[in-house]
Symmetry: C2
Subunit: 291 residues, 2 copies
């Protein structure tokens, strides 16, 4: 199949690589050409814009940074939808706005193109090992057409509803993560302040009704003083901003999420925007005159 791929960052390069490995021909564009080098070396063709990628592909996948980037890639001057194209399906895998996913769906439909929103979770490791969870919004029959390609990227794939439903599911995922992160980091700040051994606390609380991925996977990194990403603080702030905007848009107040987002703005203000999300621990210590 002739596949277009736009966005070859740490996630995108791995995901596109799985499609390439399965024998699909790739046409690629990325903001930074050198990040596509691995794919180009293995035979992918480079094009200078999203529009040119689309003109040479049956289906185009995108995974870029911010909603503004998604908008540019689809609706900008050299965007996928800017001119006549051979492409019949577009799939945005960026974590982006549900409302923008609906706009792209509608704009695509006007041009006879099918559109899915399909953000993922599982991070760089999940992308590399083809272990992503993929949450998909759009028409069921289009979902089914793309499913064999999704299966090359991860084992957990779910059609969540119409346009935007994939993005809404990812938002719900990040709302959950926000709570888990404040719980894990406040737990560890409390434990160390009260003279407990943090790793010993993780070992016991991480097994029962308090357990979470956050405490069991990120907790030990805090213990070791490892605040590298993982998942960037600045990306998490973007996701929480989307979540708060989409909530407010339907008249939904989420006080826990709002507080956590404010605290992550503090994490960023302290110079940790390119740290991993476990750096919330450092911000809580700073809040308490420590660290």
């Amino acid at each position: 199949m002739k596949i277009g791929w736009i966005g070859t960052g740490v996630m995108g390069a791995s995901m596109a690589g799985h499609l390439q490995k399965a024998g699909h021909g790739l046409s690629v564009f990325s903001r930074t050409r050198k990040k596509a080098a691995g794919l180009l070396d293995k035979g992918a063709r480079w094009y200078d814009s999203p529009a040119e990628v689309a003109a040479n592909s049956e289906i185009v996948f995108t995974i870029v940074g911010l909603p503004e980037d998604v908008r540019e890639v689809y609706l900008g001057d050299n965007g996928i939808l800017s001119r006549e194209t051979a492409c019949s399906i577009v799939v945005d895998m960026t974590t982006s706005q549900p409302s923008l996913a609906k706009i792209i769906f509608e704009e695509s439909a006007k041009r006879g193109i099918e559109s899915l929103d399909a953000p993922v979770s599982g991070g760089d490791v999940g992308a590399r090992d083809a272990k992503l969870a993929i949450m998909v919004g759009g028409k069921k029959e289009v979902f089914e057409k793309v499913l064999p390609l999704f299966r090359l990227m991860g084992p957990t794939i779910s059609h969540m509803g119409g346009p935007g439903a994939g993005q809404h599911t990812k938002v719900a995922n990040q709302v959950l993560v926000a709570g888990n992160m404040i719980g894990a980091c406040e737990c560890l700040v409390y434990a160390t302040k009260q003279g407990l051994d943090m790793q010993q606390v993780i070992d016991i609380v991480g097994k029962g009704a308090a357990s979470s991925w956050a405490i069991n996977i990120l907790g030990p990194r805090v213990v070791k003083g490892d605040f590298g990403p993982g998942f960037f603080v600045e990306h998490f702030i973007k996701d929480m901003k989307i979540a708060l905007e989409e909530s407010a848009a339907v008249g939904l107040s989420l006080p826990g999420l709002a507080l956590v987002q404010q605290l992550y703005i503090a994490v960023k203000a302290q110079g940790h925007s390119r740290s991993g999300t476990q750096a919330l621990f450092l911000a809580l210590q700073a809040l308490n005159g420590e660290g």
Copy 2:
């Protein structure tokens, strides 16, 4: 061994039953005698006060309700420490104040009695199935003496440090739970408000980096409209009150915990004090003019 057991509520009766089954003689007292009926039927002896239980036991375990109850059972007029006793070790398994655990340790020591604080997690099911996690504070050599008895109640047992360290670990556990609960309930409120199927969301977000016991075990109860306990809202409020007091006492601000406690006070105000902690979902819906 001659064992005293004070407090035969839903947790205590199961835990004492495991000791009895292993062949230990039990002397019991509880505020409500009929809750001890199962143990008495199998040969436990009833006494009319904690002091009398202690007078007839080598070691006494307690698991009662509130810190006030713990104080009364140890330091009250007919308390364990109110008179001469044969008992050489006392073990409080109530989730209670670390600071009170230290007082009991000191008051016990004055009388030549060893003391451990050993709160548990795992709930009524963990107690029944001897699957509790037990977090222990006090002297290491005393911990080791009691260890064979702890092993009859659960597989995960950890000596966390000196007097109060068991309670501090349980506090840390509840701080973690607080974050996990706000994350899980806000996730579900968002999901349903945006028209997603809540169970389908749980199925996908509960497998990856957003996963927690709260979303995977309590989430499906929310989906079914099952808000029964589980773990009582009023007990969780008590635990968070202890956590906030013990934090403030050492100059520690935990904004996430404070918010969650306020929201649970709202859950209680809405008439859910004897519901399970997943009733936070209902309070968040009410906050948003729904449900």
